[in-house]
């Protein structure tokens, strides 16, 4: 069973006046089949955790370990992490001019699976995944994220999640900027992947709204660069009622 283990993770970024520590000792274990919601105020370091796990060059790991089934994730390049089974659905997916969605998806699937998917089954697979996410087939011929609306970008991220079948899926504020219909469609996509029982999900969100559609097994409150409190799904209800105030007071960044 795939397990992602984060132990005492410290991460900093280069700022104008030297390095600034954002993550200050994160401990978290995510097992295949589990869903962990990470909730917290803006600036608490949630997204930094997501991008650090995926290997974004902007972030420097200054301490701690991250392993996937015992393998050192921090030693891997960005593409190696993806091939090892770590998937990051981004909050702000990047436009890649000149590369069509269909070409991108196939290149990516080929890299992740280690061989080119059989053309006939692949076309069917993409088509049905797009239908379920209510994406226009014309999307396949558009350039990656170019001119996509916010909702289209998020659906496109979840489309990749469904096709690439990672071991660990990190969803970074996938719910932000979505209307209720889009939120439902995107959540259903995530749930289809979760129902296979083969993915561990790290759901990063600012709002409790998405948790009505995606039921977490664990909820963690993220504040000031570390996990301030952990609990079951009921912790989300407390946050819904009380907000983050009690975690923000006493030193967290705005």
């Amino acid at each position: 069973m795939a397990t992602l283990e984060i132990h005492d993770l410290h991460v900093s970024v280069e700022a104008e006046n030297g390095a600034r520590e954002i993550l200050k000792g994160v401990d978290l274990t995510v097992k295949q089949g589990e869903t962990h919601a990470i909730m917290g105020p803006n600036g608490s370091g949630k997204s930094t955790l997501a991008y650090s796990l995926a290997g974004h060059p902007k972030y420097t790991i200054t301490g701690g370990t991250v392993t996937l089934d015992g393998e050192d994730v921090l030693e891997m390049s960005v593409d190696e992490r993806a091939r090892a089974g770590v998937f990051l659905a981004m909050q702000y997916p990047v436009e890649v001019p000149g590369v069509s969605v269909s070409n991108f998806l196939r290149t990516s699937a080929t890299a992740i699976r280690g061989e080119a998917p059989k053309l006939r089954t692949w076309v069917k697979e993409v088509k049905s995944a797009m239908e379920q996410l209510q994406m226009d087939p014309a999307f396949a011929e558009r350039n990656v994220n170019e001119g996509f609306s916010g909702g289209e970008k998020k659906r496109h991220e979840i489309l990749q999640l469904e096709l690439l079948k990672p071991k660990i899926a990190i969803l970074d504020e996938t719910d932000s900027g979505l209307d209720v219909d889009a939120l439902r469609i995107v959540s259903e996509g995530v749930n289809r992947v979760r129902e296979t029982g083969e993915v561990g999900t790290l759901l990063i969100t600012h709002y409790t709204r998405i948790l009505r559609y995606i039921k977490p097994d664990f909820v963690h409150v993220f504040a000031n660069g570390r996990i301030a409190e952990s609990g079951g799904a009921e912790l989300a209800d407390v946050l819904e009622a009380e907000g983050y105030d009690k975690y923000v007071k006493g030193g967290a960044t705005a």
């Binding site: 060059p57 993806a82 001119g147």
Partner: protein, 392 residues
Amino acid sequence: MAEAQNIPAGSTTAGAIAVAAESTVATRMSAPPSFDVADFPVPNGREEEWRFTPLARLKGLHDGTAVADGTMKAQIDAPEGVTIESVERGDERIGKAGTPVDRVSAQAFSSFAKATVVTVPKETVLAEPIRVALHGEGGTTFGHTVFDIKPFAEAIIVIDHTGDGVRAANVDILVGDGAKVTFVSVQDWDDTAVHTSQHNALVGRDASFKSVVVTFGGDLVRLHPRIAYAGPGGEAEMLGLYFTDAGQHQEHRLLVTHDAPHCKSNVVYKGALQGQDAHAVWIGDVLIEKSAEGTDTYEMNRNLVLTDGARVDSVPNLEIETGEIVGAGHASATGRFDDEQLFYLQARGIPADEARRLVVRGFFAELVQQIGVDDIEERLLARIETELAASV
């Protein structure tokens, strides 16, 4: 690519649409067009038409010090029906398609020994391209070639430049009424070569002309692909592709003069740049004269900057002297393959070198497909792969 997005430091993307009584395209040149080199002052680099060009690397083509001391191995393969002549400079077909617009083109005109005239007779449809292979073997050479495509003939012309040397040449393409011509000029020089050339196409009534300019090599390449119309109903397409490496200067200065009614023009130039001091310049001028009612024109330049240290200057200009047109537009955008794009593709399992290849191939693919000459398309794709392999 989104307009004016991701403009890297060191690029300028400027444009102008002018409705003018007097053409600034013509007046901003330091001298009017002329066949005589003496009519042009020696440029100092501050002139509008020279401000991007490193004069010191022109090997004296601009100041009269270059002398014809080189060798250019030339081979012309033409299908049956095509005539090839070597003619003296008095021949009336020479210079009919256009007049030199800068000192270097005028120098080429004043210095060539004999001109080559290639004629495709009336209503002749060529099954195979006319291929001109020019291989520089060092030193300076001047040249003048005229392609005279008679009415209703159809031809593909490929001029292929390889090797080393300093080359200044003019090419005239006379496209007869109703004729269909594709003209391809490939600059696949060694990295030490210097090449300046003016391509003058005169497009006849209801004729169609496609210019394809492909620039990979050379230390300095500066080309003037130009179109004018001899009658109404002409169509012109200008496609360009360049891959500018470290230290190379590749400059394409286009002009389409709409001087006849109901003509079309469509310009698409795309370039990729990589390496320190790679410099690409694209000037796209379109002039719609008062007589050119019903004109339909569009020009586009796209640049993809792959590494730090490269520079693009892209300047589209559109001048319109009549409001009675179908359409006129232009676009220029310079984007860069940046760390965020790389991260996104890598985060989907795609290794860095493959990610770069994916982006560059995608960038050029559509343009390459429009060329319509199979072996050129294949060679281009292969050449792009080589360039990319060299970059990693």
